[in-house]
Amino acid sequence: MSATEKGQVMTANRLRDGEVVFLTRSGVWSEKIDEAVLALEPQAAAALEARAAEDVKGNLVTGQYLFDAERVGGNIRATHIRERIRTLGPTVRFDLGKQAEGTAGTFAAVEG
C-alpha cells in the first residue's frame, strides 16, 4: 500500500480555450490531473515554475501557479477545496467540467 505523498502541482489555463491544464513530467500540459507531476521538493517546484514561465512567454498558457496536492495510490488530489473544484468542475453541476469529461482523476466531488 503506497503512502500519501504531499507536494505541489503546476497548473495554468490554456490560452486559446481557457481549459485548466497541469504540467506533466515530460513538460507538456495535460488536462488530466492524474498525469501531473507532483513536486515533492522546493527544487522540483522551482523547475516547474521555470518551465511554466517559458510556456507563458510562448503564449501557450496563462495564469500559472503552484498548488498543494497529494498523491494517494497513484492518483493526485488537490488539498484545498478551491483547487479541487478547479480540477473537478462545479460541485452543483456534476454534468459539467472535467468530472463529466472523465479527466478529473479518481477522487469524487467535494462533500457537503
Binding site: L15, G18, E19, V20, N59, I81, R93, L96
Partner: protein
C-alpha cells in the same frame, strides 16, 4: 425599447473587429497577458475557475424576445446550454473559449447586443428599475437616460482607464428598485417643487469590502446638464481616485477620505470651470431616445377581468402565483409578471437555453416582445394582460419557471461563488440550494412574507449581501468554508448596510441559522410587519440570543 440606428450598428461592428484583432495579436504573442487583460476585460471576458467567462451587457436590464432567443442560441452553440443572470442585470456564460469570442461578439452584434465595458476599470452597465415603464408607482421612466449614459460612456477616451470599475444606477420611482444609494453614482429622477423634472445626483455608494451609502452631491440637477455634470464627477475621480491599492480605489473611498463636502466642492469647481456649453444636442438626443420608450399600444381594458377572476378561484396554485409573482401595472387590466429563476433547490439565476426560448416566446405573444432582468436574478414580462396570465402560468409550469416565490424566502440571490469564480473564498450556490429546500413550503414562505436573502461567496459582495435583509458572506477559515450572517441591510431609498450578528457558521449549519432567524421574526413581529421593519424596531439582540444561546 431602443433600436440601433446605423451609427450604433457600425459601432459594435467596429468594436467587434477591434477585439478580433486584439485576440489574434494575443494568440500570436504580440501582446502579453498583462497588456491584453485590460483590453479583454473592456469586452467583458474574464478568465475564471474553469474557463473563460463572458459577461454580456443587458443595458438597464431590458431586452427583446429576439435578443433573448439569441442568448439561448449562443448558450447552445458555444457554451453548455445555459446562462446565468446577474445582480447587475447582465448575463454570464461560463464555458467560452478565447478563440470563439470574436464570433460570439458578432452573434451579439447581430441582435444589437454587446459585451462592451461589462468589466475593467471603466464605466459599466447602467442598471435601473426592472419595472421601469410599467410600475404603478413610477414618476418618470429612467431608461432613456440610461441609454443616453450608455452611449456617452461607451469607449469614452478620457474614462477608459479609471482607478477602478464604475457603476451607475438610475431610478424614476419613489420606491427605489435600482439600489441607487449603493452605486458609485446613483441618479434619482424626480420633480422639484415647481414640478420640473431633475436628477438627484448621489456619489460614493458601494458594497464590496467597505460598504457605503452614497452622498448627495446635487439635489436637483436639470436634466439637460446631466452629461456635463457626470463628466465633472468622472474627471475628479479619474484624477484623484487612489491607484496605489486595488481595495481602496473606488470612488466611495475617495469620498470617504476627503469628506463629502470637499468632494462636492471639487466636483462643483470642475463643473464650474468646464460647464455645459450648449446642451441642445444632448437634449435632442435624449428626446430622440425617449421616443423608443413610449408606451406600447396598450389596450383599453377593465381592471376587472371575469375570466381571470374565475381562473384564480378554480386553481389555488395559479392564484398563489398571481398573488406572489405579479405586480401592479400602471395601466388597468395589465400586470407585471415576475418569473422566478429560483425553483426550489435550483441554482439561482441560472436558465437553460430552452427556458430562454420559452420566455422569449411568451414575451412575444403577451408582453410586446419585451423582457427585463432584475437585480434579484429573475426575469420580468413587463406588460401582460390579466386575461393572459393563466395561459402564461401554464406554460411556465411546464418549463420549471413557475416557482411562486418571487420576493419571498425561496427567492434567494446568490453570486456564482467558489463553484465558478476565481475570486471566491467559499461556495454560495449549495448554501442557497439548501436554504431553498428548507423553505420549500410556499405557505411558510408566504407567512414569512417579503424577505431578501443575499449570499456572496467572497468579500467582493457580488451577491449584494450587505444590502440583504439577511446577508450571508462566505469566507475561508483555515481552508474550510464558513459563513457570516448579517441582518438589516436594504437597497431601497432607505438604504442600510447589514450588521454582522456574531461568529460564523459552517455551511451545513446555515439553513438552520436562517430558520432560527426567521422563526424569531415571526414570533416577535407586529401584525403585518415585514422583516426589515421588525428588525429596525427590535434590533439585532433577539436574533443574536436565538442564534447563539447555549442550549
Amino acid at each position: 425599447m431602443y433600436r440601433y440606428d446605423e451609427f450604433d450598428h457600425q459601432f459594435v461592428r467596429e468594436r467587434t473587429a477591434q477585439f478580433r484583432d486584439q485576440a489574434a495579436r494575443r494568440l500570436k504573442g504580440e501582446l502579453t497577458e498583462d497588456e491584453f487583460r485590460p483590453l479583454r476585460l473592456m469586452n467583458g471576458l474574464y478568465l475564471q475557475l474553469h474557463a473563460y467567462m463572458l459577461r454580456v451587457a443587458i443595458p438597464y436590464g431590458t431586452l427583446s424576445s429576439r435578443q433573448m432567443r439569441q442568448l439561448g442560441l449562443i448558450a447552445d452553440k458555444w457554451d453548455r446550454g445555459y446562462g446565468h443572470f446577474t445582480t447587475r442585470q447582465n448575463i454570464q456564460y461560463n464555458w467560452f473559449k478565447l478563440e470563439d469570442t470574436a464570433d460570439i461578439l458578432q452573434a451579439l452584434a447581430d441582435v444589437e447586443m454587446h459585451a462592451i465595458q461589462t468589466s475593467g476599470n471603466c464605466i459599466r452597465n447602467v442598471t435601473t428599475d426592472h419595472w421601469a415603464g410599467a410600475a404603478a408607482d413610477e414618476l418618470l421612466d429612467p431608461r432613456p437616460v440610461g441609454e443616453l449614459i450608455r452611449q456617452w460612456s461607451s469607449l469614452h477616451p478620457e474614462f477608459s482607464f479609471l482607478p477602478r470599475k464604475f457603476k451607475i444606477a438610475v431610478t424614476g420611482a419613489p420606491n427605489d428598485r435600482a439600489a441607487v444609494k449603493v452605486h458609485d453614482i446613483g441618479l434619482r429622477l424626480h420633480r422639484n417643487a415647481a414640478g420640473v423634472p431633475g436628477w438627484e445626483v448621489m456619489v460614493g455608494g458601494g458594497q464590496g469590502r467597505t460598504p457605503m451609502i452614497a452622498v448627495t452631491v446635487r439635489e436637483h440637477l436639470p436634466e439637460k446638464e446631466l452629461i456635463a455634470y457626470l463628466e465633472a464627477i468622472m474627471r475628479v475621480y479619474n484624477l484623484y481616485g487612489r491607484r496605489d491599492n486595488k481595495y481602496k480605489a473606488r470612488v466611495k473611498i475617495l469620498v470617504h477620505e476627503i469628506g463629502a463636502e470637499k468632494f462636492r466642492s471639487e466636483v462643483e469647481a470642475e463643473y464650474a470651470r468646464h460647464p455645459a456649453q450648449t446642451t441642445e444636442v444632448e437634449e435632442r438626443e435624449l428626446a430622440r431616445i425617449a421616443k423608443y420608450f413610449a408606451d406600447p399600444a396598450f389596450e383599453r381594458l377593465s381592471r376587472f377581468v371575469p375570466v381571470f377572476e374565475a381562473e384564480k378561484r378554480s386553481n389555488a396554485e395559479f392564484a398563489r402565483w398571481v398573488k406572489n409573482n405579479t405586480a401592479a401595472h400602471k395601466r388597468e387590466g395589465y400586470a407585471i409578471v415576475n418569473i422566478s429563476l429560483k425553483a426550489a433547490g435550483e441554482i439561482p439565476g441560472d436558465c437553460t437555453s430552452e427556458q430562454m426560448r420559452v420566455m422569449a416566446d411568451l414575451a412575444e405573444s403577451h408582453s410586446f416582445a419585451e423582457l427585463r432582468v432584475s437585480h434579484a436574478q429573475n426575469i420580468v414580462l413587463p406588460h401582460v394582460r390579466l386575461g393572459d396570465l393563466f395561459a402564461i402560468w401554464q406554460k411556465l409550469t411546464e418549463h420549471g419557471l413557475a416557482a411562486a416565490n418571487y420576493g419571498l424566502a425561496g427567492d434567494i440571490i446568490a453570486c456564482p461563488g467558489l463553484d465558478y469564480c476565481a475570486l471566491a473564498t467559499a461556495r454560495s450556490i449549495p448554501v442557497a440550494q439548501a436554504i431553498s429546500r428548507k423553505f420549500a413550503d410556499l405557505d411558510r414562505q408566504q407567512d414569512i412574507g417579503n424577505i431578501k436573502i443575499n449570499i456572496s461567496g467572497c468579500i467582493n459582495a457580488c451577491g449584494h449581501h450587505h444590502v440583504g435583509h439577511i446577508g450571508i458572506l462566505g469566507l475561508d477559515k483555515k481552508g474550510e468554508e464558513y459563513y457570516q450572517i448579517t441582518l438589516g441591510g436594504s437597497s431601497s431609498e432607505h438604504a442600510s448596510i447589514g450588521t454582522i450578528l456574531g461568529p460564523g457558521f459552517a455551511g451545513h449549519e446555515v439553513p438552520d441559522a436562517i430558520d432560527t432567524i426567521l422563526n424569531t421574526y415571526v414570533r416577535l413581529r407586529a401584525p403585518r410587519e415585514e422583516f426589515l421593519a421588525t428588525y429596525r424596531r427590535i434590533g439585532a439582540q433577539p436574533f443574536k440570543e436565538a442564534l447563539y444561546a447555549t442550549a
